[in-house]
């Protein structure tokens, strides 16, 4: 084990600039990858924030009895989709109307025409038009229900946006991820190629493939973790600075934690890059 650690660390010294280039390449690739990931996460957050304002308004029939309303409330509260339920009686509805449109509008009418309603706030994750339709279907036949309304067009638009965003996220992850593996693997390949002679001599004196591979793998993992740490620190501080400087950007709180994912990702990419490169060389040596 001590041989593996000693050789892995010596590898950086022996390849000098090449090792630094490899760390730098990993850092740049991960900054691009992580940056895009953070942007996508923030967009998700933004859409979710907008969606959190989506409410279902269940207008109640004037003929509904107290028991029927309570039964409806009970059914709604039992649903995991329902985060909050607010009962607005006819008087409150009138007060709200007057607050919006000004007093006097309702004076001309002898009877308050506004129905009582239940305002349903949805749990995060249940704010798609599909889920809303399911809730509506479950309660629309209740006797107490007169009519159900929600910002259907808006929700559908947001759904479409999330769908597109998810598609872009998968595409970006695949394309940039593959490009990162390619770039990192090729850079590591150069550092390993520079030591082709050593590898050839290792084979000559009877080193097993796993013995040859181990220090290079560790070196790749260490290099990857260094590159990943640089990328993580950069992303973390840029994200923090942006969220403090431009609070209206509504960046997802805690999303900067995703930046730290770049460290294990860097380690995995460094290790994978080394493994691919060393395998290529071992295959071509006697």
């Amino acid at each position: 084990m001590s041989y593996v650690v000693k050789e892995a660390l010596a590898g950086f010294r022996r390849t000098k600039g090449m090792g630094l280039i490899s760390v730098g390449t990993t850092a740049v690739s991960l900054v691009v990858f992580g940056g895009l990931l953070l942007i996508l996460l923030s967009l998700y957050g933004l859409i979710d924030q907008v969606k959190s304002r989506v409410q279902i308004e269940i207008y109640l029939s004037d003929a509904a009895t107290r028991e029927q309303i309570l039964e409806l409330e009970k059914r709604l509260k039992a649903m995991p989709e329902v985060k909050k339920l607010l009962y607005v009686d006819k008087e409150m509805a009138a007060a709200e109307f007057e607050k919006t449109f000004g007093e006097g509008f309702l004076d001309a009418i002898s009877q308050n025409p506004l129905p009582a309603s239940l305002k349903v706030t949805l749990t995060s994750g249940y704010r798609s038009s599909e889920k809303i339709a399911a809730i509506i279907k479950a309660v629309e036949k209740e006797k107490a229900v007169e009519e159900i309304e929600y910002g259907r067009k808006w929700v559908e638009k947001l759904d479409r946006l999330i769908y597109i965003l998810s598609f872009v996220a998968v595409l970006v992850t695949l394309v940039i991820g593959a490009a990162s593996v390619f770039v990192i693997s090729n850079t590591v390949n150069l550092t390993i190629l520079a030591r082709r002679d050593s590898i050839e001599i290792m084979r000559l004196v009877g080193a097993t493939d796993s013995f040859i591979r181990a220090p290079f793998l560790l070196e790749g993992i260490i290099g990857g973790s260094l590159g990943g740490s640089i990328a993580a620190a950069l992303l973390y501080f840029v994200h923090r600075w942006l969220s403090l400087r431009f609070p209206s950007l509504s960046l997802v709180p805690g999303a900067e934690l995703a930046a730290w994912l770049m460290i294990p990702l860097g380690m995995a990419l460094g290790g994978l890059g080394s493994r691919l490169a060393i395998r290529r060389i071992l295959r071509h040596l006697p």
């Binding site: 041989y3 022996r14 002679d197 050593s198 050839e200 001599i201 290792m202 084979r203 000559l204 004196v205 009877g206 080193a207 097993t208 493939d209 013995f211 006697p286």
Partner: protein
Amino acid sequence: MIQMHHVYKTVGNTTVLEDVSLQVEKGEFVFLLGPSGAGKSTVLRLIHFDERPTQGWVRLEDYNSSTIKSRHIPLLRRRVGMIFQDFKLLRDRNIFDNVAFALEVTGAKKALMKRRVLQTLTLVGLGHLRNMMPVQLSGGEQQRVSIARALVNQPFALLADEPLGDLDKEAASDILQLLRDLNHQGTTVLMATHDTELMETLPYRCLMIEKGKIF
């Protein structure tokens, strides 16, 4: 014992070796003599299991090229030392570390490694230069280091591929004497060379190779 049995080796459409059979007994010193491109290095590489025959088989002690598993080849290479015209030393390690390297890959303990390396360097007459870097040594001294590296695992045989090729006359004579001394101590030596003078002056068996065939 080293044995090749009706070995053919083709690379692409070129036949490098054709029906080569040879046998080197334990403790023997044998020259493999032939011009450049005759197939000498291929013979040594086949014996070192760097390559496999296209047809026929190679046997080295209990290892046979037709039955050996890939994972056993490193173990076999520890039993056969190999030296080259260009020494193949690690330029970024000193002499001690270059020799120790061959033991390091076997997982030898540090104390044993130190003792064996110093013994072997003394045997080839380089004990006092152990802290030098390869570039600080003459060609003859570098070849001695590569011999020490080949010997440090106490192999039963030493394969030498034109070991005197890059050396001046005096250094070549010293290295040859060292190989003869090692052979006296029991190590089998198979040495590839194009120098016909050696065959005439030394009392060893000589296998002639030309255009991939042994005569």
